[in-house]
Subunit: 396 residues, 2 copies
DNA sequence: TGTACTTTCATCTCGCAATGGACAAAGTCG
DNA sequence: CGACTTTGTCCATTGCGAGATGAAAGTACA
């Protein structure tokens, strides 16, 4: 029977833990400069954190012209598990308390196999990470799923691409299995948190994080916090209408963004191009595999295939239309583009940028960076560990 | 030389003041039930508030089966001024500290006359309210203007419909003139605050407040706070594209919402209808006045004119398209529709509702109330006093 | 109707914890 | 080696919370 990880006793301790997490080992005085606490109070709280084992002494810091200070660091034995379940793959990573990725595994996986099968695989990945000597247990785990989640309960609600998951008590089940606190969130929100923690959005308090993959979603960060909406479906921009009389969408409407530039739409359009003989590259791939995937388009574009590039450019324009509206509405300080877009990122980014800068008002786009995410595949898992560590490092 | 209004010394006092503002006179025990303070601390803080004069004793409360309690109320002599400058009118109101409107004046006014002329009129209105015996001075004033504002400085930035206002230091100038703290914000944000303070959105923490008038804007409330965006232009939804090849807009793009359903677009379309002989009602009004105004369309619709009603319905559908996208994105708990829409409110509301419920995802619209604002013309001024009172009732 | 009992509110007091300043310890630099 | 800087610890003062006490009102019942 393993003891539960200690928790900070008050907001000051929580604040100190987060500082140590984000800034690394620090002297007491350096910490004092970051928080509004008297030196005595600071010493008392650190003393208590040392007692609980949440932080440890960590040698002497370099002198700054006086007595050398004892560094203090967050307990290096803490381990967080981050899991990012996508539509077609699953990522798992272990981090230490400073959210540095110690190990990362990735597997293809069809989320439609249902929660039981998926979590068997997830637990196997977690066990594998432990076997590699990276962790003995986990002090907390964050789980991302590709659909809306009722966050407080950690339960998916009406997820369109996850049949069999509706209402499955992910948080409860995994918390039981892993023996540690678990939080569940939408994968896009976690990507946003990841980029905020360790990526391009480190110093931005209001930003949007658009993930282009099988679906298209958007993480919303307001005043440093993720906005999830009243039913957990905020950021679901795939079904915003981009064309009054556009293609029919699985959701029942017409002209949705995803009906023009989701994974399925891309495959549909690419197949049509291949069959119409408009792209030798795509036709070859279609013949070889019998069917095309988004990765084929991506690869073809990377190889310079004009038709594929055009598809991506058009998709970027459509996405840019939606983002332009969101930028006018939300006036963010940054827009981060991410998702499974290996290689085609810059093409996509360029057409999104063009469209947003053309269509949004100058006041909102004045110095609005629209950039690719820095973390790529690990954004989700890093965000997941950020989520759970924020929870663990908050007063119990 | 008048003494500045006292300010609370700490967050607890601020919290108590806001409770007394929103819930009215309370006994000490009733207050204790609302905040997490020990009886002793509560007594001490109230004692101090009594000393500063921010609250006063207010007789005995009805007994609840024991010794009767002494009620305490927020200083009834406090006065806040709320000013709502619209494109074509200005509203001013005085409230007490509980934000009850004691007097309200409204005048037509063209904002294009520039800040100096406008503030002359505003100060005259304020003086008139004082002459009516409603106030001797003001303890704070909130000002709403129809354009983006850099909130911390209280300065309009690049306001499209306010020539001559760009960079005018409203806050500084008015603070000087009125001799009290002043805050300046976008009129739509103030409308949202007003509906949150005293209207339909009292118990909602995340909602959108769409104002349809000369322009079309949207107040965004996240977690109880107004989101203004990084440059103060959040909620500027008038230039979101609703039609890929739509009408040209003053902003340089085509198909903007305002190009189809702003005040100017409405006049343009109504005039066309009148001249084409499609509406006798509108033609009559055009002949009588030489030109049409949005109010003419409103009145004609109220009189049952089919062409005018159709214009409003179409505009509602267009607005609904945009709101549907915002609902998917933001997943609010309520959408409030307001603005200068006397009479035509329900027609507009109905077509907006139809469009949003049709186009947004069920999870986001599940139990999403889309309602008309309750406060009508006073929403802005009430929101303005709420804004400044939140400021006054915060630790200095 | 009068008296005893109960309920509620306000204040007082005391112990504990927090705070901020003083002081001692440990270094660096000239 | 001494002046100066930085860091760690101690302690008196202050602030806070919870129980005890007394005052003021309602309630039950003879």
């Amino acid at each position: 029977m393993r003891r539960m990880t200690a928790r900070p006793a008050n907001v000051d301790q929580a604040r100190l833990l987060r500082l140590l997490r984000d800034l690394g080992p620090q002297s007491r005085v350096a910490l004092g400069g970051q928080v509004e606490l008297s030196r005595s109070k600071l010493a008392v709280e650190i003393e208590r954190l040392l007692e609980t084992g949440l932080v440890v002494q960590d040698g002497l810091a370099a002198s700054r012209g006086g007595r050398r200070s004892h560094n203090v660091r967050i307990a290096p034995s803490l381990r967080f598990l981050g899991v990012d379940i996508g539509a077609t793959s699953v990522d798992a990573a272990v981090t230490n308390a400073e959210l540095e990725v110690l190990g990362h595994l990735s597997e293809p996986l069809d989320v439609r196999e249902g929660p039981v099968a998926v979590f068997e695989r997830v637990l196997a990945l977690a066990a594998k990470l432990c076997e590699e000597g990276l962790a003995e247990h986990f002090d907390g785990a964050g789980i991302g799923v590709p659909g809306p989640v009722r966050f407080p309960e950690g339960v998916p609600v009406a997820p369109p691409i996850m049949p069999g998951w509706d209402g499955f008590p992910i948080r409860e089940v995994l918390s039981q299995e892993l023996g540690c606190p678990v939080l569940v969130d939408n994968d896009v929100n976690l990507m946003a948190l990841g980029e905020q923690q360790a990526g391009v959005a480190r110093s931005v308090r209001d930003f949007l994080c658009v993930k282009v993959g099988t679906g298209i979603g958007c993480g919303i960060v307001v005043a440093g916090d993720v906005h999830r909406g009243v039913t957990g479906s905020a950021g679901d921009i795939g079904h915003i209408q981009v064309d009054l009389d556009g293609s029919p969408c699985a959701c029942g409407n017409t002209g949705c963004l995803e009906a023009h530039f989701g994974g399925n739409a891309l495959v549909r359009d690419a197949t049509a191009l291949a069959e119409a003989g408009r792209s030798a590259e795509l036709a070859g791939r279609l013949e070889a595999m019998g069917r095309l995937t988004p990765e084929d388009v991506s690869a073809a574009a990377g190889a310079g295939d004009a038709a594929s590039l055009e598809l991506i450019r058009l998709g970027g324009t459509r996405t840019g239309q939606v983002i332009a509206g969101l930028v006018s509405f939300f006036n963010p300080g940054m827009v981060v583009i991410g998702g499974g877009l290996t290689g085609l990122g810059h093409t996509l980014l360029a057409s999104i940028r063009t469209q947003v800068y053309r269509q949004s008002l100058p006041l909102a786009t004045g110095n609005l960076p629209i950039v690719l995410g820095e973390l790529g595949q690990v954004a989700g898992v890093v965000g997941a560990t950020r989520l759970i560590s924020d929870h663990i490092f908050s007063p119990s």
